[in-house]
């Protein structure tokens, strides 16, 4: 790295030793090109060999290295040290349980992704039918919501997830919405059933910080609002459908 040094304060937590996380300052060198992920690796190599953090691609694709930087959810590989010369506090992603140091338990997020069934449902085309073409307009409908890298920054930005750990959350909703909007998919009924619960999209109050911190500009807050609109239509349809069924039922009984 280089000539200048700065202080980086890192949250440490060893579940076998500590009762709660604590902050530990480290003196680290930096240059114009240094990103936080380099700095964390420097600390692990030179100052605290037991420091735990997640990372993989180093280029904003894998979504592994999410941390809180001065209280803001960020990817470590996308955070330039030169912008934090006044000081930097690095903590594990907010609202998730802390496993160790900067590593959090993302199980809830993963379960929500699974619950959204992020794959094409109910399309019975076969390979001999040829490619399933879409127009640019059909792709534009969902393309923005398809850019998610599952980094979880939006969950760490969402106070509603903090207040209600059962909340479906922004990222998973955006992913479900992406498939609901896909012209090749017929599974929106299944996904809307999950979305239309108390812990589904309706726990959202449109704080909007999720879209602010998303490194891929997916705009999950917009996805959630659009799912609320779709969910409200689905609600009306269900009420009408129910009434229809009752009438059919009574007809059947009378005859």
């Amino acid at each position: 790295m280089a000539d200048r040094t700065m202080t980086v304060t890192v949250s440490r937590y060893d579940p076998e030793r500590d009762s709660a996380p604590y902050l530990q300052p480290y003196q680290v060198p930096w240059s114009e090109k240094t990103v936080l992920l380099d700095t964390l690796q420097y600390i692990k190599d030179n100052l605290a060999t037991d420091l735990s953090f997640r990372s993989s691609c180093r280029m904003t694709i894998c979504g592994s290295c999410g941390v809180m930087v001065n209280g803001e959810p960020r990817l470590a590989c996308k955070t330039i040290m030169g912008n934090y010369q006044q000081g930097m506090v690095v903590e594990p992603l907010a609202f998730f349980p802390v496993e160790r140091d900067l590593v959090v338990d993302l199980s809830h997020f993963m379960e929500c992704i699974e619950a959204m069934k992020p794959f094409i449902i109910g399309n019975n085309r076969v390979p001999s039918d040829g490619p399933n073409r879409q127009t640019p307009e059909q792709i534009a409908k969902y393309h923005k919501f398809a850019m998610c890298i599952n980094c979880g920054l939006c969950y760490a930005a969402c106070p509603q997830f903090g207040l209600n750990p059962a909340f479906l959350g922004p990222g998973a909703t955006a992913l479900g919405h992406r498939y609901n909007l896909d012209s090749r998919d017929c599974g929106s009924t299944q996904r809307l059933a999950t979305m239309n619960t108390q812990d589904g999209v309706w726990a959202c109050t449109f704080v909007g910080y999720c879209s602010e911190v998303c490194p891929k500009h997916v705009d999950p807050a917009a996805a959630v609002q659009q799912c609320k609109a779709a969910g409200a239509l689905d609600f009306v349809a269900s009420v009408l459908h129910c009434q229809k069924k009752c009438k059919e039922g009574s007809h059947g009984h009378a005859s």
Binding site: Y13, P15, P97, V98, F206, A222, Q225
Partner: protein, 119 residues
């Protein structure tokens, strides 16, 4: 072997929104609802008991509440029109036109009310 995991849960307290400017502005936006309810109740009083409504109109506390309610209503309009495009999955250009249309409608309604009040 028993697990050595001991996940640390950081409890969220009722003051979470004080810690970031973005959250503070969210709470400011939500707090406009208090004044929406105030205006609603005060106008309801105007319908049910016009004499009391008129008498209170010059009460300094009521004047202050109404002034803050005006500011809150403007903030509500501004934030609401900012959020409307999020609920619609339409091309950018289309959304721009819709928001512009909403502002023009608001301007037109406001001018009509002012004209009705003056003449």
């Amino acid at each position: 072997m028993a697990t050595r995991r001991k996940p640390y849960i950081r409890e969220v307290d009722g003051c979470w929104w004080l810690r970031r400017p973005f959250y503070r502005f969210y709470m400011l936006r939500e707090s406009t609802s208090l004044f929406a309810v105030w205006v609603s109740l005060y106008l309801l009083l105007g319908l049910l008991c016009p004499s009391t409504f008129l008498k209170l109109l010059n009460n300094p506390i009521v004047v202050l509440l109404n002034l803050v309610a005006l500011a809150a209503a403007v903030l509500h309009t501004w934030t609401w029109f900012g959020l409307v495009p999020k609920a619609l999955n339409l091309p950018e250009a289309c959304l721009g036109k819709i928001v512009k249309g909403l502002w023009w409608t608001t301007a037109a309604v406001s001018v009509i009310f002012l004209l009705l009040a003056i003449f």
